[in-house]
């Protein structure tokens, strides 16, 4: 039961980047289209889950004073793995996500989960936490990407959804659109939260 709770909190109650306001850079930068957002989310989920597993498994071995250095080393290792695999098998995607693949290493969500959760809990719970938070993050990125893609390019996952007469609001896929929509979504989340309490 507690495993399910550790998993599901990431999907709504603690969903990143809305409830846990971290990891904003990739959120803003790669959500020009729904599939880019999804890909970035999944790459982050992989690194997050793997680092959670290792941090949790080693939690009684790593001395407190070097724990942050160890976590960074672990996270960086998995980030490089994602970089290599993506270059080898998904090169076009690697070119689109570009600099934000190596920057997974400084995504505060991952270090935050290592410090706040995985370093204190058993491995299974840490896996549930990593997958849950990761999928929640992927969902957010996909939704934000979808909104911007629909308004800014008139497509969703690359398929045209409006008639040929639709003139796209290009500004949505440019940087200002990212900031404005993330802010508005955050406002909507606040309304929903308050309505429930």
């Amino acid at each position: 039961m507690s495993l399910w709770k550790d998993f599901s909190k990431g999907l709504w109650k603690d969903i990143a980047p809305f409830r846990i306001v971290l990891g904003l850079c990739p959120t803003l930068a790669v959500t020009t289209a729904a599939d880019n957002g999804l890909a970035m989310g999944l790459a982050t989920t992989f690194v997050l889950t793997c680092s959670n597993i290792l941090v949790s498994a080693l939690r009684n071995i790593i001395p407190r004073r070097v724990r942050i250095a160890s976590y960074v080393l672990i996270i960086a290792t998995f980030t490089v793995m994602v970089e290599l695999v993506m270059q080898a098998y998904f090169y076009p995607l690697y070119m689109i996500l570009g600099i934000f693949i190596p920057l997974i290493v400084v995504n505060c969500i991952i270090l935050g989960r290592a410090e706040a959760f995985a370093s204190k809990r058993p491995v299974l719970n840490s896996i549930a936490d990593g997958v849950g938070i990761g999928l929640g993050f992927s969902m957010s990125l996909t939704v934000l990407g979808a909104i911007r893609e629909i308004l800014g390019a008139g497509t969703l996952f690359g398929y045209a959804i409006f008639g040929p007469d639709f003139s796209p609001m290009t500004f949505m896929v440019k940087p200002p659109g990212a900031f404005v929509w993330l802010g508005l979504l955050l406002g909507v989340m606040n309304i929903i939260k308050r309505g429930r309490v």
Binding site: A76, T77, V80, P175, F179, G183, G187
Partner: protein
């Protein structure tokens, strides 16, 4: 990037990095501390100074390591690990150095320094220097100009946000939400600079 850069090319690089491709508002690097420290002008200025200091140093050191260590040893694929460790170590060293030698400056920057390790703008600029195949001098100029651009956007934004604190904003938009929308408008304003550099 090719050889024989004239002085005006460097000026363009600087203007481009500060206004047109502002690292915060156009390239989305370093947004977490951006929203975190922009509530008060004092903290924003401190953060801006610390970023300028560390980003310039980090850009230079990572460039040297990449060119004279990683490339000759064919270890380019470990770039991410090396860079983040260099930045973390650099921040520690700077902290210790300031504490001993410039206590006043340390007082001002102290609490912001540890935050910088996870500021992705620092790692971001270091990686961009390498990806764009900048020369050493270009790296120095670009790292510094990007950092100045970061500080500039941060301080501008903080000014606006201090005003927002006393304005009548619907409850659900208070805090980060309105902050992001404001950043969007600021980013839109910076778009106007795109015409400056043809």
């Amino acid at each position: 990037m090719h050889e024989a850069w004239t002085f005006s090319d460097y000026i363009l690089l600087v203007i481009g990095a500060i206004f047109v491709n502002n690292i915060l508002l156009a390239q989305f690097l370093g947004n977490c501390p951006f929203l975190g420290v922009s509530r008060k002008m004092e903290t924003a200025t401190g953060m801006a100074m610390a970023v300028i200091f560390v980003m310039t140093l980090a850009g230079i050191i990572t460039w040297i390591v990449q060119t004279y260590v990683l490339v000759p040893l064919r270890l380019e694929y470990l770039q991410t690990i090396f860079f983040i460790l260099i930045i973390a170590a650099l921040v520690q060293l700077v902290e210790m150095f300031l504490q001993k030698s410039f206590p006043a400056l340390y007082q001002a920057l102290g609490i912001f320094l540890p935050l910088i390790t996870t500021n992705c703008a620092v790692l971001g600029v270091a990686v961009i220097n390498i990806r764009e195949e900048l020369t050493f001098l270009q790296t120095v100029v670009y790292s510094f100009a990007s950092a100045v651009g970061y500080g500039f956007a941060l301080i501008l934004f903080t000014g606006i946000r201090e005003q927002l604190e006393v304005s009548g904003i619907p409850d659900f938009m208070k805090g980060t939400a309105i902050g992001l929308v404001t950043a969007g408008l600021l980013s839109l304003a910076f778009f106007g600079f795109a015409g400056m550099v043809g």
